[in-house]
C-alpha cells in the first residue's frame, strides 16, 4: 500500500527533522525521488514554489510531493504524516513542561543538533545549484574534466540568481515579492526567446 508507505515516510520526517522546514528539504527530496521519481530539477521547482506560496515551507513541500506521488489523497496523507508526530510530541511535552523546567543537558543537546540543520540546508543548495546552473544532469552523466564541467555551465540562471541575491540581500524584499519579480523576469526572458 503506497499510501501507507508515504504516510510512514512523512511521519518519520515529522519526528526527526530539527531545524525548520528548510532543513527538511533534503529529506523531502529523498521521499520525492522514491515515490514520484523526482529529479533535481523538479526538486528545485518544489523548493521555489513552497517558498512563494502561503503556508509553512515544510507543509507546502509535503503537500506537493504527496500530490505528485498519489494525487489529492497523497497530499492529505503526506501532510497529516508530517503533522501528527508534532501533535503527539507537543501535547506530551506541554503536559510535562511545568515539572521538568529547563534541563541544561537537553538545552545543550538541542544546541548541538543545530549545526546539522545548517548542513542539511546547505546540502539542499548544493542539489539545487547543480540542477539550475548546469545544462546536463550531473547525477546521471559524468564529466571528464573541470574544463568540461565549465563548458556545461548555464550563465543565465546564474545571473538570475545573483540578481535575486541582490534583491533579497540589499533591498530586503520579501520572499514572495522577490519570487514574483524573478518569475516575471524569467517569463519575459525565456518566453520571448531573449536567450
Amino acid at each position: 500500500m503506497n499510501l501507507l508507505a508515504l504516510f510512514w515516510e512523512f511521519f518519520k520526517l515529522g519526528i526527526f527533522s530539527f531545524g525548520g522546514g528548510q532543513a527538511m528539504l533534503p529529506w523531502i527530496y529523498e521521499i520525492g525521488q522514491k515515490f514520484c521519481g523526482m529529479d533535481a530539477d523538479e526538486f528545485t521547482n518544489l523548493v521555489g514554489l513552497s517558498q512563494m506560496t502561503p503556508g509553512p515551507v515544510g507543509v507546502n513541500a509535503a503537500t506537493y510531493v504527496g500530490y505528485m506521488s498519489e494525487g489529492i489523497i497523497g497530499s492529505i496523507v503526506a501532510t497529516l504524516g508530517v503533522a501528527i508526530p508534532a501533535f503527539i510530541l507537543v501535547i506530551t511535552v506541554s503536559i510535562f513542561l511545568k515539572k521538568k523546567g529547563e534541563s541544561k543537558f537537553i538545552q545543550g543537546t538541542l544546541e548541538g543538533i543545530r549545526p546539522v540543520a545548517i548542513g542539511l540546508i546547505a546540502s539542499a543548495i548544493y542539489v539545487m545549484a547543480k540542477a539550475c546552473f548546469f545544462d546536463i544532469d550531473l547525477d546521471k552523466e559524468s564529466v571528464g574534466s573541470i574544463g568540461e564541467l565549465f563548458s556545461h555551465i548555464e550563465i543565465v540562471p546564474i545571473i538570475f540568481c545573483v540578481i535575486a541575491l541582490f534583491i533579497i540581500g540589499k533591498f530586503k524584499l520579501s520572499p514572495i515579492k522577490s519570487m514574483g519579480i524573478m518569475a516575471a523576469l524569467g517569463a519575459v526572458v525565456y518566453g520571448f526567446g531573449l536567450v
Binding site: P54, M128, M182
Partner: protein, 189 residues
C-alpha cells in the same frame, strides 16, 4: 451564522487558518503577528504562556507553525482544540499547493511558464542561500559547530547515506559532546 462563528472550535480553526495563510517564507516571520492576535486581541494566552509555547515549538522537531497550533489549541480546548488548530493551519497549504501542483502538471510545456519557473528556481537558490547564512551566523560559533555542519553537508551531498541517519548520528554525537562538556564544567566547579 453568528452562532457558528462564535463556536470556540470554529474560532480556533479560523484563527489558525489565517496564520497558515499569511505565513509566507517561514513560520518565524509571523511570530509577532501571532503574538499580537493570541495574547493581546483574543487573550487566549498570557505572554509567558506564548513564549513557553514558542520555545517548545522551536525545540521540538517538526514544523514550528504546526507545533504552535497544537500547543495553543490544546491549551485552549484540549485535544479537540489542538485538532482544530492544526487542521486550520495546514488547510491553506493543502488547498493552494494542490492547485499549484495540478497547474504544474498541466502547463509545464508552456514557454512562459517554464521561463517563469527558471526565475523561481534561481530565486529559490538565492533564498535558501540567504537563509543558510542568516541561520548559520548564530549557530556556527564554535569549531564543533563548523565540523558538524560541514560533515553533515558532505555526507548528504556526496554519499548515499539517508538524511534520517545523519540526523540520528547528529543527535548521538550531540548527546556525547554535551555529556562531556557538562562533566568538564562540573569538574571546574
Amino acid at each position: 451564522m453568528k452562532k457558528i462563528l462564535d463556536n470556540p472550535y470554529i474560532q480556533i480553526f479560523c484563527s489558525f487558518f489565517k496564520f497558515g495563510l499569511f505565513t509566507i517564507g517561514g513560520g518565524l516571520v509571523m511570530v509577532s503577528y501571532i503574538e499580537q492576535v493570541l495574547v493581546e486581541e483574543k487573550k487566549w494566552l498570557t505572554k509567558e504562556e506564548f513564549l513557553d509555547g514558542l520555545t517548545i515549538s522551536q525545540g521540538l522537531p517538526g514544523i514550528v507553525a504546526i507545533n504552535m497550533a497544537t500547543y495553543v489549541g490544546y491549551r485552549k480546548k484540549g485535544i479537540a482544540g489542538a485538532i482544530c488548530a492544526t487542521i486550520g493551519v495546514i488547510m491553506p497549504s493543502l488547498i493552494i499547493m494542490i492547485i499549484v501542483a495540478m497547474l504544474m502538471k498541466q502547463f509545464s510545456e508552456n514557454r512562459f511558464v517554464s521561463g517563469a519557473l527558471m526565475g523561481v528556481k534561481a530565486c529559490a537558490v538565492a533564498l535558501v542561500t540567504h537563509a543558510v547564512i542568516k541561520l548559520g551566523k548564530p549557530v556556527l560559533t564554535s569549531v564543533y559547530a563548523w565540523i558538524i555542519a560541514i560533515a553533515s553537508l558532505l555526507v548528504i551531498a556526496l554519499t548515499g547515506v539517508q538524511v534520517v541517519w545523519v540526523v540520528i548520528g547528529g543527535i548521538v554525537i550531540s548527546i556525547i559532546y554535551t555529556a562531556i562538556r557538562t562533566n568538564k564544567m562540573k569538574e571546574v566547579d
